[in-house]
């Protein structure tokens, strides 16, 4: 531990009632010799306190609650007795990234075993004390009991003895039968709920350190632009401003970006000083890019053809009257409500950060590489995160904080972005275009499908950027006999990133919309048509068709699919497989004759295997659907002169409560290991809504956002 006054900070955060403790496992374990801590995740103190570490970052997906529940289940402790602590970044925990709905599938088996290891040692300790075979003892609700003699002893009393037991091989420990689960599958509220409703300083932006300064960091509006000239002296003279300096950065859009750092004695003064900066930027060759130009280039590519052929099967042939349409969607920002921020200090040749990051391991690597300090000298404490959605997989704001902290050498600093910087400097969900052609045969089945997909590369016209591109096996590949998929990559200087349900969040809108068009072309009910398209096979590769059909039927049944609706109302259905989860959504909408849209209800059918926390799971599905609707209905990022035009909520509208539809979800419980739920319900939402709009109005939405379409009818 370096010389930073940790105690002062610790006192601040706990006095205010926060549940956020900074002690990492290793330090805490060292300080408490009598505690039983068989692995990094579990600690039982002699007073009976059970502490379970949350090793993944909490971005609102619920893992700070759900993952410790898994440990507690096998440990056989009542949930009420558990205290959850957020872990710092430490290799002892294994992977600590939150992304791709992977936290549950990658942790489930391991956390069960770690809980079972601890329980086994407690049982063995009690058996040794009583001098009875361990098989005669059982762990029940925080105690070990010996049925035959009626003796029992609490985990707390066993802690010291259990610590001396041999640690059993985690592969060999016996796990519970899921039918005996007492915690998993129940409704468990978030562990930080009390802190949240009382305003405890849980988030990155809430962190303070003794003697801390406040910083802002201005980047060039054109991505990668460098500082040519700036009025540094004038801004430095402003009250409260202690430092203004240029960071050269690099030309790497995913590395340290050039800019001007401003350091002051409060956030407001730093923001004012930043606003007073007059910077002449060197845009390089990137100042001409625009969304309008992208559109022209995409149209030209789709007209001329000649993209890279990713898949070509059978003979896709199309008659004159075959459907030939273009679907398109814009770039999106992540728009997390907590702006990018990071608190850090550089001292004794090393960094220490308190950061809202989804990707601390990557931050350690990047900071170590950029500032040439060994990885062991980069410490990262994870705070609760005010929204991730993939934005905080990127570590740009942490590199900025590191540059400022290094410059201030020894003085802690908190970097805070303004809201306006958020849409300006994101790693965007890539927009795209699909020219679809499709044919149905005399039996009303899709006989041929062609998709010319236009996507984006970052400074490349060959390699799609993060979250761009399409997999050659993307549905309905392998479900349609004559199939062609080609791809054109537009070169761009706009950084791209993983938005919620990367790839899928956009592809499902286009593909599921076009399938719906073909259903209507064939004169079939969309549900029947989609079930027929999925067909009778159980699996196609890793696509578990039966589970997809189960989710589709569940959503349809719960939503009242097929029941008649009055004029101006309609239902739409869509399905999508992503992140190991199977999800279908039925949307019910009302559209006035003047074209005013109201989304009445969204019903999901979801199969992610067994649900671990019913409360959290429902919340994720409800939120995913409304998030998907919000983006599809309202949002688009517009590029003009190489920069993003949108600045704040005023010109990047979001869905507010009056537009929030009723939501419902049915979980289909397949006998498979549980998988993640942060993403799968989002992709089918937009197409379900657009298909419902068609059912209500006869108008097909092929361009997002929906608000750009005239929906007037009749």
């Amino acid at each position: 531990m370096n010389t930073l006054d940790r105690r002062g900070f610790f006192k601040v955060s706990t006095l205010a009632g926060g549940g956020f403790l900074l002690a990492s496992w290793s330090r805490a374990a060292e300080s408490d010799d009598a505690a039983f801590s068989p692995n990094a995740f579990v600690r039982i103190a002699p007073d009976g306190t059970v502490t379970i570490m949350a090793h993944k970052p909490e971005i609102g997906q619920g893992v700070k609650t759900t993952l410790p529940m898994i440990v507690a289940e096998e440990l056989q402790v009542p949930w009420e007795n558990v205290t959850v602590e957020q872990a710092s970044i430490d290799p002892v925990f294994g992977g600590q990234t939150a992304g791709g709905s992977t936290s549950v599938p990658s942790s489930y088996d391991r956390l069960r075993r770690l809980g079972a290891v601890a329980k086994t040692m407690l049982v063995n300790a009690a058996a040794a004390e009583w001098q009875v075979p361990a098989e005669e003892c059982a762990a029940v609700s925080g105690e070990v009991v010996h049925k035959a003699s009626g003796r029992k002893v609490s985990y707390g009393k066993l802690a010291t003895a259990a610590a001396k037991q041999a640690v059993p091989d985690e592969k060999s420990v016996k796990l519970k039968d899921p039918k005996d689960f007492k915690i998993l599958g129940k409704r468990i509220g978030g562990v930080d709920n009390r802190g949240i409703v009382t305003g405890a300083p849980l988030f990155g932006i809430d962190q303070t350190l003794p003697g801390m300064r406040y910083a802002c960091y201005l980047r060039c509006p054109v991505f990668g632009g460098k500082v040519a000239k700036a009025n540094l002296d004038k801004v430095r003279a402003m009250p409260g401003v202690s430092d203004v300096f240029v960071v050269d950065g690099s030309d790497d859009l995913y590395g340290q970006m050039p800019g001007v750092a401003v350091v002051a004695d409060s956030t407001w003064r730093a923001m004012k000083a930043q606003a007073a900066l007059e910077v002449e930027w060197d845009h390089g060759k990137h100042g001409a890019e625009s969304s309008a130009r992208h559109e022209e280039n995409a149209a030209a590519a789709m007209k001329s053809g000649g993209g890279e052929v990713l898949r070509d099967e059978g003979k896709p042939e199309f008659a004159e009257d075959a459907l030939d349409v273009v679907y398109q969607y814009p770039h999106l920002a992540h728009n997390t409500l907590e702006p990018m921020n990071c608190t850090g200090v550089f001292r004794d040749g090393g960094f220490e950060f308190w950061a809202p990051t989804q990707n601390g391991g990557s931050a350690v690597d990047g900071i170590s590489r950029t500032f040439k300090v060994p990885k062991e000298k980069v410490k990262i404490h994870m705070t609760r995160i005010g929204g991730g959605f993939g934005r905080r997989l990127m570590t740009d704001y942490m590199l900025e904080c590191a540059a400022i902290a290094k410059h201030l050498d020894g003085t802690p600093v908190k970097l805070t972005w303004t809201r306006e910087q958020d849409p300006h400097h994101d790693f965007y969900r890539p927009g795209g275009w699909h020219r679809f052609r499709g044919a149905v045969d005399e039996n009303g089945r899709i006989s041929a499908w062609a998709d010319h997909f236009v996507t984006f590369g970052v400074r490349s016209d060959r390699r799609p950027g993060n979250g761009a591109g399409i997999h050659p096996r993307e549905f309905p590949a392998e479900f349609v006999p004559n199939f062609r998929l080609e791809q054109t990559v537009l070169e761009s200087n706009v950084p791209l990133g993983w938005w919620r349900a990367p790839g899928s969040c956009a592809l499902a809108f286009a593909i599921q919309g076009f399938i719906d068009e073909l259903a209507h072309k064939a004169g079939k009910d969309p549900l029947e048509f989609k079930l027929a398209l999925l067909g009778g096979r159980d699996r196609v590769g890793d696509y578990h068709v039966s589970r997809m059909k189960g989710a589709l039927k569940a959503a349809a049944e719960k939503s009242g699919w097929g029941e008649k609706l009055p004029e101006g109302r309609g239902r739409g259905i869509a399905f999508h497989y992503s992140h190991r989860g199977y999800a279908a959504v039925v949307a019910e909408v009302t559209v006035s004759k003047q074209g005013r849209l109201k989304v009445d209800k969204l019903t999901a059918g979801v199969d992610v295997g067994p649900v671990l926390n019913l409360s959290g799971a429902e919340n994720q599905v409800h939120g995913s659907m409304i998030d998907g609707l919000s983006a599809a209905w309202f949002q688009e990022i517009e590029i003009v002169d190489g920069a993003v035009r949108n600045t704040n909520f005023a010109d990047y509208p979001v869905l507010m409560i009056p537009d929030a539809p009723a939501v419902d979800v049915v979980f289909v419980d397949s006998d498979v290991p549980p998988t993640g739920l942060g993403e799968p319900a989002l992709p089918p939402t937009a197409p379900a809504v657009c298909n419902a709009i068609f059912a209500a109005t006869g108008k097909r939405v092929r361009k997002l956002p929906i608000r750009r379409n005239d929906l007037a009818w009749g």
Binding site: V197, L337, A660
Partner: protein, 159 residues
């Protein structure tokens, strides 16, 4: 920014029943005084232009956006923040309902949501869903927990 620097002044603030004075420039938004000067970080910065509601506090009992309220306009008036809702550690029925319904996902907007909802329930102890939507229309939730926000307010109203 015209380059002129407003002069610091001392402001007497009455926050959560405590009198405190701060030396800041008169245009400093109350939000940053609460967060940086008074150590009350529960009130959140979201947009800085009064569009998202994350910074909602009560000024003389009315919900206002502290990000656009200069400290000079708050001096001498009753300010209540999310930290001041519970009395002696006892949650209000509204806060309890928020926990009961497990409303939060990321949780960042929730203090603003709760402050707006608390003002609604004071004016209208038995709101229907329409009244709730109307009152809460200025509070953005990026995680879209709107369904549970409605439920929690209805539950609190029934307590």
């Amino acid at each position: 920014m015209d380059g002129s620097h407003p002069v610091m002044s001392t402001y007497d603030l009455h926050v959560n029943g405590r009198r405190q004075s701060v030396d800041v420039e008169p245009d400093t938004p109350l939000l940053w005084v609460l967060r940086d000067h008074l150590g009350l970080a529960g009130t959140k910065y979201g947009c800085g232009i009064g569009q998202c509601g994350a910074c909602t506090i009560h000024l003389d009992g009315r919900p206002v956006r502290s990000c656009t309220l200069p400290v000079s306009a708050a001096a001498g008036r009753e300010v209540t923040t999310i930290e001041g809702l519970a009395e002696e550690g006892k949650l209000t029925p509204l806060q309890e309902a928020w926990c009961e319904h497990d409303v939060a996902q990321c949780g960042y907007c929730q203090s603003g949501q709760i402050m707006t909802a608390a003002a609604l329930l004071r004016d209208n102890p038995k709101p229907d869903e329409k009244a709730i939507d109307q009152a809460m229309a200025g509070n953005f939730c990026r995680c879209a927990t709107y369904t549970r926000i409605r439920q929690a307010i209805l539950t609190a109203a029934a307590k």
